[in-house]
Symmetry: C2
Subunit: 141 residues, 2 copies
């Protein structure tokens, strides 16, 4: 039994494809983005531009922190805030050609990773849930 | 090399102890809870009563969904909503005496698990991050 074989497994088959990933557009307002986050139920989603390229990550936490005033959360500021002003431009990502080894290293500190095609377009995401399922399968085999 | 040895490992040493876990009290308002969530930076935390017993889980998502009106998010309702009205009373939990096997099964579908002492009080939490670190260590050993 080769304990380390799982590490060289390509991630391509495990990626949740772009069409199944909820995202927001970088041109939207924070108010619109907060509605998308609330309706899809995800706490954090990728931010893409009109050419489907990855621009950053946006979470409900980032929006709420941005409008946290001294005494209360200032929701009236949401309509004028833009996604690009609030989002985190530092995104942990994988290339579609990366192996499980790289994905395992990064998910220690990130709930999900964005996956990028060779041409730089957004390919999908790799989640902790998918990685944990593979690791469980590997242990029980 | 015993691939399955990790499964019988007791979870006790891996638990993040109660004193390090951000939580909200079941008697608080949703407005107070949202401030706690925003300031601590966690998307979801345990809800405890005055006797430190686990009552449920509360997330920013649950609060925002509760006040999502037809046209906008109705933040004026937050002050009158109570934590107990919004929280999820169904909590995935582990006993302090459980093994890694049980923790691995549950984290497939939960970002973290609450851990309970033999007397029913809250002992702490088990996170996906801690489990992933153990699995990575196991694969590389
Ligand atoms: N609609 C749903 N149905 C069933 N289970 C659900 C669910 N929404 C959330 N969960 C569970 O809660 C975990 C944390 O979700 P969260 O939205 O905070 O954090 C998510 C979210 O930020 C992002 N994510 C996952 N799937 C996504 C998707 N289809 N589109 C956009 N973002 C996604 O990746 C993070 C980690 O996802 P992961 O699956 O490992 O872990 C998920 C999953 O186990
Ligand atoms: N202040 C911080 N410093 C460094 N990294 C941070 C961080 N806050 C969040 N993260 C990273 O983001 C992941 C998701 O955090 P989230 O708050 O959505 O979801 C968290 C949160 O709901 C809960 N949690 C974790 N630690 C907690 C604590 N000390 N008190 C209360 N809840 C906690 O367990 C979930 C999973 O935690 P996990 O560590 O696996 O995964 C964390 C961790 O990898």
């Amino acid at each position: 039994l080769n304990n380390k074989a799982i590490l060289d497994m390509p991630i391509a088959d495990l990626v949740i494809p772009a069409e199944k990933v909820a995202h927001v557009q970088s041109g939207n307002s924070a108010e619109h983005a907060l509605l998308v986050l609330t309706k899809t139920g995800y706490s954090s989603v990728p931010v893409l531009d009109v050419k489907y390229r990855l621009q950053g990550l946006l979470s409900t936490k980032m929006i709420t922190e941005e409008i946290l005033g001294l005494e209360r959360i200032e929701y009236d500021r949401l309509a004028t805030l833009k996604v690009e002003d609030v989002m985190d431009q530092e995104v942990a990502y994988l290339k579609i050609t990366d192996t499980f080894r790289r994905a395992l290293d990064l998910v220690i500190n990130h709930a999900f990773l964005c996956v990028i095609e060779e041409d730089g377009t957004f390919a999908g995401i790799m989640t902790r849930r998918v990685i944990l399922k593979q690791l469980k399968k590997h242990i029980y085999s």
